[in-house]
Amino acid sequence: MDFKTTVFFFLSAILIFAGLRVITARNPVHAVLHLILAFFTSAGLWLLLQAEFLAMVLVMVYIGAVMVLFLFVVMMLDINLDQLRQGFWKYLPLGAVIGILIAIEMGMVLGSRYFQVLDSEVPGVAANASNTRELGALLSTDYVYPFELAAVVLLVAIVAAVALTFRGPKKTRYTDPAAQIRVKAADRVRVVKMPVEKQD
């Protein structure tokens, strides 16, 4: 076992542990912190594969931006995880059975051929080749179309988020002279006609 393999197993072990803790931790803040740990270790795994750009992006975008936001949200909202987990035990047996069945089937299909540590057949990359540059070039040539599409998907997300949450500047109290002038008596007062009740 050379150094690289050792590192791989080390990082993988941490990754799996962190992943398990994300879903088992009682404290939501702990869960998020474990998620950050998981991201870190997977970034490490990518580094092993010489994908240094992706590793950096993962750290910067996911940990630097997304997870910090997550942490804020979790801390501010004070989510009661126990409440969320109420049905957990009730559905655990069924869920576990289905999960195990699917896992077994996956294992049967993929296990024998793909779940082995193989000698890496990936051709070595020249020492001075730039990951970033390659990706950039590829994204703006062959993959320009999906790249643009991804941008549009983000635009959709922005529009959707604004449309769903922006409620207009309603809270500010201001007077609209035009509206004041336009108003008619009928808009202000509603005359309700009722039959006179007879007294017996």
Binding site: G95, E105, M108, V109
Partner: protein, 674 residues
Amino acid sequence: MEMQKLYLLVALAPLFGAAVAGLLCRVIPRWLGHTVTIAGVAVSFIGSVLVFQDVMAGNTFNGPVYTWMTTGDYSFHVGFLIDSLTATMMLVVTFVSLMVHIYTIGYMHEDPGYNRFFSYISLFTFSMLMLVMSNNFMQLFFGWEAVGLVSYLLIGFWYTRPTAIFANMKAFLVNRVGDFGFILGIGLVLAHFGSLDYATVFAKAPEFANTTINIWGAADWSLMTVVCICLFIGAMGKSAQVPLHVWLPDSMEGPTPISALIHAATMVTAGIFMVSRMSPLFEMSTTALSFVLVIGAITALFMGFLGIIQNDIKRVVAYSTLSQLGYMTVALGASAYSVAVFHLMTHAFFKALLFLGAGSVIIGMHHDQDMRNMGGLRKYMPITWITSLLGSLALIGTPFFAGFYSKDSIIEAVAASHIPGAGFAYFAVLAGVFVTAFYSFRMYFLVFHGEERFGKAHHDEHTGDHDDEEVSHDHHHGLAPGQKPHESPWVVTLPLVLLAIPSVLIGYVAIEPLLYGGYFEGVIHIDKVAHPVMEELAHEFHGPLAMVAHAFRTAPFWLALSGVVVAWFFYMKRPDIPAAIQRRFSGLNAILENKYFFDKINETVFAGGARLLGRGLWRGGDVAVIDGFIVNGSAKVVGWMAAVVRYFQTGYVYHYAFTMIIGLLLLLTLWVRV
């Protein structure tokens, strides 16, 4: 005029009337509504006469009018096949329809749905014409469904009556069963013959004489037998043969004019027409013919018995229709297609007459349909009386009347037939003659003769028959004490008189050319070697007058006569006898009262069995039927269904996700192989 355009005109004129009266039913006044539809049907009738003359002159037509669509290797046309069979049907349909249209002016006089009703019956006329004029199975099926739809609408015409809604649902469901067989038959034809055109199919049919197909297990079935039986199941639904007959008596919930037009004269005979059309196919399967024969015989005899115990005037006529349809089916089974069509024609006239006569009586009695409240109407409604008498005489087969020629021909045809089941059928049709005469004249005597029982508060005396009970609830006004019935207006009596003429004469005029004069040459194919019935009949036929002379020496005449005499004796002379019999044979009476328990069997065995099978559909349908469709807070059905739905559609997103995952697991397990 070019004939092709005339054909189109015949078919489309009633459609035009229906469209005007239907789409504008709230806008146009009543007189316009009936004028436009009657004009449409009248045009159609005149056109039919011209077409008939043209066909008589030897001009037939078979060709597409419009190509509908092409899918795969098949294409569908709207096409007409105009030959002697079509022309005959066209004449019958348009004539009876015209009479019914005129009659309706009087009958529906007070009804708020006046224009709507005219629109429906015109639409029906159009659909029926498309059915009979079709030159391919596709159009036949369209017409078939269209007449079914209109019939469904008309049975439920008085939709505020729960019984009417029940009846139309029943008609709808039972007819679906028949249609299922019918469409399977058409599908088989398409699959094996590769075409839906009659001409092509008939030409190819001999090639398939020995083809067998494998339906279930290892048994091989003759293709032609399966096709014919499937098609005939369709006919059983539409022409109300046992056991798919249950809808027809209930269909009497509809207004009387449509009972005459749809449920006696035309639509219910569509099955008979269809089988005659398909004679080249049916001739190739003696098994199928035997099946037809036996079903027809059962219907002819056993439905006749039921006519005896009915007290509702329309139901008597309805059961009589069932029985007569059985006769026609028997004729088909005996390979005497032309005789079946002949009886179809005479029956259309005299049964429409009887129904319209009954309707006239109902008008006179202010919508009281119970015969026990009538009697002695002869004095008050002379035209109705005399025409009904003529109709009844025709029905029971009095020599010289129309029904005599057609019915006697059927009996002789069955006697001459030697296919399996013919012996039973012969007994059934012979016994049926007595039964027919008995119930017809029971009705006649109860209604027109004897003591005047109307004008008394009879309603509380009802016993037993729960169908009558239901009818009596809302539309059952009856005459007030001291009130006398009076003759109906001329719009009602004129059609009676006009229908009485062919009821008397048509048999004498038509029998010779229709049955023995080569009228159906090239239209109806008979395998003369295997089924030589018509040959034998022709051999014994020596003209219509000779037939009358011969009749006095045969059993049917004496049976009919004794039926009349017994009816007279029981209901005029000694009314206490039937009551005594009813008491003595209460078990038999119960069977008849419950119509052989067909409804019960349907509800318990079929519905119950299906419940075990699916639980979903039938309970839904069944309860839905009882509640007159489930809407409007029918809490039971919705509650039950909702429980099932709720079981899955919980609203919890993780349940949904679970369902998806389970589905995925299912697919994985079924398909992934290592």
